[in-house]
C-alpha cells in the first residue's frame, strides 16, 4: 500500500509562537522550541517528523504564512 510522508519547513524568524499549528496538527508533529528566535518568540518545529503526512493543516492555520509543506507517496 502506498504510504504518504510529509515534512514542514518553518521560517524560524517569521514565527510568532502562537501555537495554532500545534493545535491544528492531527498527528502531533509540532512543538514549540525551548529556544527563541530573533524576536524572542519560542518557534514551532517538527518534534516528530516521522509522523508528518503533509496534510498542510498547520500551514493553512498559520496567520503569518511561515510554514512550507512537502509531501510524497512512497
Amino acid at each position: 500500500m502506498a504510504k504518504i510522508k510529509g515534512a514542514i519547513v518553518v521560517d524560524i524568524d517569521g514565527c510568532k509562537g502562537c501555537g495554532l499549528c500545534i493545535e491544528a496538527c492531527p498527528v502531533e508533529v509540532i512543538s514549540l522550541s525551548d529556544n527563541v528566535n530573533v524576536k524572542g518568540y519560542h518557534y514551532s518545529y517538527m518534534t516528530d517528523p516521522d509522523a508528518c503526512t503533509g496534510c498542510s493543516n498547520c500551514a493553512i492555520i498559520c496567520p503569518d504564512g511561515i510554514i512550507t509543506v512537502y509531501r510524497i507517496k512512497i
Binding site: C18, P49, S56, N57, A59, I61, P63, T68
Partner: protein
Amino acid sequence: MAENAITTKELVKKENLVYQKTKLLTDDVMHYCPGCGHGTTHRLIAEIVEEMGIQSEIIGVAPVGCSVLMYNYMNFDMQEAAHGRAPAVATGIKRLLPEKYVFTYQGDGDLAAIGTGETIHACNRGENITMIFINNGIYGMTGGQMAPTTLIGMKSSTTPYGREVSLAGNPLNMTDLIVNLPGTYFVSRQSVHTPGNVRKAKKAIKKAFEYQSLNKGTCFVEVVSNCPAGWKMTPVESNKWLAENMLPFYPLGDLKVPEE
C-alpha cells in the same frame, strides 16, 4: 521497508512542494499579534487573487483598525480610507474603473460602528464591490474597547464586568441586517479558527470575488475572528472561546446565495 527511511532532507524538494506562502503577499512581516485572524484572512485574499490571476486587475481598500497597514502586505494595489469610509471609497473606485475588481477589508469597529452608514448604503445601492468584514467583537487596535458587535456579557476594556444590555445596548449583527437589503447579491459568514473553517472561508471569499464580475450587486463575507490581545487570551484559547461564544450569536454559513 527501506523506502520508509526517507529523511526530511530528501523530502524537502521543489517537486514535493504542496504548500507555500503566496507571492501575492509581500515579504514584510505582518505587525499583527501572534495568532490573530487578520493575518490568516489576508493570506486567503492573496491566495485567491493569485488563483484568479487578477493581480493587476484588483484594488483593495484598507480600513482604520489593526488592519490599517494592510497595504504593506498585499502585492497589488491598495487604497487607504478614513475610518469607516471604505465602502464609499470603493464605490468611487469601482464606478470610475468598472472593469477592476474592487474590495473593502474592514473590522467591526470600522464597518459596524463609525462606518455603519457607509456599509448599509453601499449594500443597499448594490455597489458591485466585494466587502470583507473581520468581526472580532472588539476595537482591537485602540486597546480592546467594546464594539457594537461585542457579545452580551463579553468583557472588554470599557465593559470590564461584561457587556450589559441595560447600559450598552444590544450587540449588532451587521450581516443579518445587510442580507435583507435588495442590493446584496452574495452574503456569507465564515471563520478562520480551524483549518477546516479556513478552507471554507476561502471558498466563500473566492465566490465573493468571482460574482463581482457579474455586476449583480454587493458580495459580502463576514469572517468571525479572534483578538487574542484584546480578549486577553492565548491564541489557542481565543479560538476555543470564539467557537463557544461567538459562533452561537454569529452562526456560520451562506446567508444569501444567487439562484443558479
